[in-house]
Amino acid sequence: MKGASSNKRESAALPSPAGNTGLACPRAQTAMNCRAEVLEVSVEGRQIEEAMLAVLHTILLHRSTGKFHYKKEGTYSIGTVGTQDVDCDFIDFTYARVSSEELDRALRKAVGEFKDALRYSGSDGIGQISLEFYQKKKSRWPFSDECIPWEVWTVKVNVVNLANEQERQICREKVGEKLCEKIINIVEVMNRHEYLPKMPTQSEVDNVFDTGLKDVQPYLYKISYQITDSLGSSVTTTMRRLIKDTLAL
């Protein structure tokens, strides 16, 4: 489906929730300087969503700014990002996320699909979800824009089955502690202040940021996932929209 990708990298790419990527954006080869970070968690089935949301929201908290308002002479002012705490129901954990319902909805949708795929694909319960930040590079017609990722976060999930309530209680606490460690890892990476796309001019802003949300402005991102079945080969779930996109060049 994607020429340059190997079999293993086939995955379902959920379209950017903003929906303003009118043109398909075929994935380019991973740039040499694209940062890749991998996190692993083991969770029980009902904890999948919350654990993923905690991680993804924490990443997006760091990768979102307020809305830009461009003024003349190329200056711009930035809106304000609010935050809110979210308590998990199935994990002893609380995380802070950006106060944006649209963003939350988009993430929940993606994570929900990942969870369904994980649970119903008949796999062993191993899968991974990726959050990729990319920049668009405009190409001249008839070529479509390139998407150049500059940071990819992958969360590998291993779903465990627990036998009784006591184990579940222990799992609640353990997963909570694990997530604390993950958050610390994420913050550590963020703190390295490595490459970030430079702040764009008004005409370029849509190549760097997702400007479709009304209250915050995350960097352009896409979420994809892949499930590994027990045979070790990847089982992919293809979205109809994705097919349409890739074929509609």
Binding site: T58, L61, H62, T65, G66, K67, H69, S77, I78, G79, T80, V81, G82, T83, Q84, D85, V86, D87, D92, T94, Y95, A96, V98, S99, S100, L179, C180, I183, I184, I186, V187, E188, M190, N191, H193, K214, D215, V216
Partner: protein
């Protein structure tokens, strides 16, 4: 002394050399100083708010308001800002001078323990090339976001979410050398992040205790108060003479504390609380401070809460009281403040934090005690209802003024948490409330004071001791309670202050019971003390039990065979 001079010299040279090398123009320099200052203030806000015990929620706004530093919506709690500014005293974090926020836990028994120290430090590593107004600003914003994430992840967060009945979380800001010794062995450190600037690298980190051995969260999952009421106004009870709060715990390091701790012998704190069974709509709670010249009765509802020997411990009122003990003149930044209270109000800036779930349906107090003091210090309202069992042993059931005084702790000296000093008597509806002083005196009463063992007359009337043998009474309970009520009203001292003038509760007419709610309330207002709680009776019966043991053993021995047969059937 020499070290100090040497250090200061190094700092001066460092700043000078950095400034010289970078061509840091004055505008940039000013900007940078301003950024660092506001960053420090926002850091403190984030940390303290994360330990309030509530979930924080702020809104995003697409149009910049101009007042949101670092493009983040972080509320500014005035008291916290004030404390931070005071600690900084116009300085900025520099080498050897770090801004530290200490988070500690204090139990209802008075034990306290440091949980975390958050440090904002500056080191010597300069980043000359970096652009102040742009890159540094954005990186500081990122660092604040990281702080938001990390503050939810250290162990103290979960503790702080569970604070209330058994313990409270306090904060203290100090400026100077970092002191990690209070964190116990094996504390861990997490680095939140760093931002390089032309003047040095700002580092934000947290050292947290992991040895929470004597305080596990499970310890605090005890039975809830009987009526399940969230009491949101508790007064810190005066500590017994052991006086666990020592000023040195809160002494700012390296600062002169000369006049920090005035003697407070003449301002004995008197904490009197009164509880009795009652519906949640009434609860009485009064606290007086003996030296209080103008005791304004602040609040409205009078609540009475039952207390059956549980240490209700601290429940911080979220933003009700702000009492500044100008008379005490306590030193700056030396005390811990309960974090929940941080949404405190001072006379000038009522600023109420939203603290859902802690109010228990009681309306917030709109007005403030007019103490005419500076917006300062002790804004903690940390209260503990008296432990009834304790008091029944310690104080007789009389309601004399002297009793209240004896409750105060003479041994205290300026310990900060004693300074809760607001009277709060809240009245509601038709309940007549006595004038304050009378109420407070009466309110020393222990629960069921009138049934305390010392009063022999009452014991005779106590149906638990002498069950009424009146089988013809339509309801034995009713009969016994009637007797209680009569004896109750005869001694009457406990409950004079609450006389129901006219009780017309809505929807209370009941055709089944012959009495209306008012009568019902009155009759069941003072149930007799449980015999097991009464010491003498307990002692008596125990003695009897002990005596009767040999007989019982003899009987059991006789029936040994039967028991054995029974046991065999079970196997």
């Amino acid at each position: 002394m020499n070290m100090d001079i040497a250090r200061r010299g190094r700092q001066a040279i460092h700043r000078f050399s950095c400034a010289m090398d970078t061509d840091l123009n004055s505008q940039d320099r000013k900007d940078l100083d301003k950024f660092i200052k506001f960053f420090a203030l926002k850091t403190v806000q984030v940390i303290v708010q994360a330990r309030l015990g509530e979930k924080i929620c702020t809104r995003s706004s697409s149009s910049p308001t101009g007042s949101d530093w670092f493009n983040l919506a972080i509320k500014d709690i005035p008291e916290v800002t004030h404390e931070a500014k005071k600690a900084l005293a116009g300085q900025l974090p520099a080498i050897g001078r770090s801004m530290c926020v200490e988070i500690s836990l204090k139990t209802s028994e008075g034990d306290s323990m440091e949980l975390e120290i958050w440090c904002l430090e500056m080191n010597e590593k300069c980043d000359k090339e970096i652009k102040v107004s742009y890159t540094v600003y954005n990186r500081l914003s990122l660092l604040l976001k990281s702080l938001l994430a990390i503050t939810r992840v250290t162990p103290a967060y979960r503790l702080s979410r569970k604070q209330g009945h058994e313990y409270v979380i306090l904060y203290r800001i100090y400026f100077g050398e970092v002191q990690l010794s209070g964190l116990g062995e094996g504390f861990q450190t997490v680095r939140v992040g760093t931002v390089g600037t032309p003047l040095g690298t700002i580092t934000l980190s947290c050292a947290y205790r992991i040895n929470l051995a004597f305080i596990s969260t499970r310890q605090f999952e005890r039975t809830p108060p009987i009526m399940g009421i969230i009491i949101d106004h508790f007064v810190d009870r005066p500590y017994p003479s052991s006086s666990p709060m020592h000023p040195c715990n809160y002494r700012t390091t390296g600062e002169d504390n000369g006049a920090a701790y005035p003697s407070v012998e003449d301002s004995q704190e008197v904490c009197t609380t009164s509880f009795s069974t009652s519906p949640p709509s009434q609860c009485v709670f009064t606290v007086t401070k003996a030296h209080f010249q103008t005791p304004p009765p602040v609040v409205m509802d009078t609540l009475k809460v039952p207390m059956m020997g549980l240490a209700f411990s601290h429940q911080l009122s979220s933003s009700r009281l702000s009492y500044q003990p100008a008379a005490l003149g306590v030193g700056s930044a030396d005390m811990g403040y309960p974090v929940i209270f941080a949404g405190g109000l001072n006379a000038a800036h009522p600023h109420q934090l939203i603290v859902p779930g802690k109010e228990g349906g009681v309306p917030p107090v709109p007005s403030q005690p007019a103490h005419g003091t500076q917006a300062d210090h002790e804004r903690m309202v940390m209260c503990t209802p008296l432990d009834g069992a304790l008091y029944s042993a310690a104080t007789p059931s009389s309601s004399e003024d002297t009793e209240t005084v004896s409750n105060s702790s003479e041994g205290k000296s300026g310990s900060p948490h004693d300074l809760l000093e607001t009277i709060f008597v809240r009245k509601v509806g038709a309940f007549v409330n006595k004038p304050i002083n009378q109420v407070t005196m009466a309110s020393l009463d222990i629960p069921f004071a009138m049934f305390a063992p010392k009063n022999v007359e009452l014991e005779d009337n106590d149906p638990m001791v002498n069950p009424p043998d009146s089988p013809d009474v339509e309801s034995p309970l009713q009969g016994s309670l009637h007797s209680e009520v009569s004896s109750g009203s005869s001694t009457g001292n406990t409950h004079d202050d609450f006389v129901m003038v006219d009780f017309k509760p809505a929807f209370s007419k009941d055709d089944i019971l012959p009495m209306d709610l008012g009568t019902f309330y009155r009759e069941f207002q003072n149930p007799p003390q449980l015999s097991s709680l009464s010491i003498d009776i307990g002692a008596q019966s125990m003695a009897e039990d002990l005596d009767s043991l040999p007989e019982k053993l003899a009987v059991h021995e006789k029936n040994v065979k039967e028991f054995d047969a029974f046991v065999e059937t079970l196997q």
